[in-house]
């Protein structure tokens, strides 16, 4: 069972730690499919990413209430419905029931960034759901596998990204790592083990 608690250590609120998390994000966005360790090992990865990225000028949707109310005060971001939010936090194990913003032709960058909490990320094929990734930032192909990620997410993502440059960017996060699948990446879904 997934440990439902989202942990937060005091050090993640320091600018230096957020900088390090951000560096990790830069790496993961530049090299899609590369599993990056979160710089703060005491804070759940998806929360560390949100702390590093969000502020009062962007919006966050947390429809499954994964974040405690006290955390919202410290994030200092604007809560929003999932259809309009710039960032959305969700449990990857549950099937997608979402209509995220995929941007417009004039402003494709307004497409949502979706953070999915998953069980475990594997750089090999030992996990349940296999994903073969190719495209910009990936030399030929790379394969990862994920535990507790519902395959409906990948199907939904393909639909949202079918009219490139419109689309969404996915951040798969287990407790201590994250991997990015931006809308530029092609995904071939393998068998569930």
């Amino acid at each position: 069972m997934l440990n439902e608690t989202i942990n937060c250590s005091p050090v993640i609120w320091q600018p230096m730690m957020q900088q390090q998390v951000f560096r990790g994000l830069l790496d993961s966005f530049s090299y899609p499919g590369r599993i990056v360790a979160c710089a703060d090992s005491e804070t759940t990865a998806c929360l560390a990413i949100l702390i590093a990225l969000v502020d009062g000028e962007t919006t966050l949707a947390d429809p499954q209430q994964l974040l405690q109310p006290a955390l919202w005060a410290k994030l200092e971001t604007r809560p929003c419905i999932p259809e309009k939010a710039a960032f959305i936090l969700l449990d990857g194990a549950q099937a997608a029931d979402l209509n995220p913003c995929i941007g417009t032709l004039e402003k494709p960058e307004t497409g949502a960034t979706i953070l999915l909490r998953v069980g475990a990320l594997h750089s090999g094929l030992s996990g349940n759901l296999r994903l073969q990734l190719s495209g910009p930032g990936i030399e030929s192909t790379t394969s990862i596998s994920v535990d507790r990620l519902h395959p409906a997410w990948i199907t939904a993502r393909q639909e949202w990204c079918s009219a490139f440059p419109l689309g969404v960017d996915l951040l798969l996060c287990d407790e201590h790592h994250f991997v990015v699948i931006p809308r530029t990446t092609q995904i071939e879904m393998g068998d569930a083990a």
Partner: protein
């Protein structure tokens, strides 16, 4: 002390920042201080309505520092404190937020905080008085102009 809570920050900001921080540290030494939000120093957009058509516009940006804390005493009492300042010092805002909690909740030794506010308020009053003196001294008395006209007419 009968200075309203909404005037405490502007009174305190007349004083030396080091003194405010020291008193806040002293008064919160035996109390647990929790940050509800991180003390922040950033910018605010100053919104005005124009004098001609009362349409909103932004005059420019001002430095804003703010903090919100919860103080918990040894006997379990919790008091909230907070402040927002036109200033760029986040830690000063945090100290004033602590004093805001101590004073509003009358926590132990709150008299120290009260005397700071009173002293700051005196400085504030003095500053306002000096401005008024400048205004009064430069006030134009148009009635004198009329007297002269009357004399010319005679």
């Amino acid at each position: 002390m009968n200075i309203p809570r909404n005037d405490w920050p502007s009174a305190l900001c007349q004083l030396n920042a080091a003194e405010i921080k020291e008193v806040a540290a002293t008064l919160s030494r035996d109390i647990e201080v929790r940050d509800v939000v991180l003390p922040q120093a950033g910018l605010g957009l100053l919104s005005l309505t124009d004098g001609a058509f009362h349409e909103p516009f932004y005059l420019g940006e001002i430095p804003v520092a703010r903090a919100e804390v919860i103080l918990k005493t040894g006997d379990g009492r919790e008091v909230q404190g907070g402040t927002v300042l036109v200033d760029d010092r986040a830690q000063l805002a945090r100290s004033i937020a602590i004093l805001d909690a101590v004073l509003s909740g009358k926590l132990p030794d709150y008299e120290l905080a009260a005397s700071l506010v009173e002293r700051g308020n005196q400085l504030r009053i003095q500053k306002m008085n000096e401005r008024r003196q400048m205004l009064a001294a430069t006030r134009v008395d148009f009635s004198l102009l009329e007297q002269e006209d009357d004399e010319d007419a005679e």
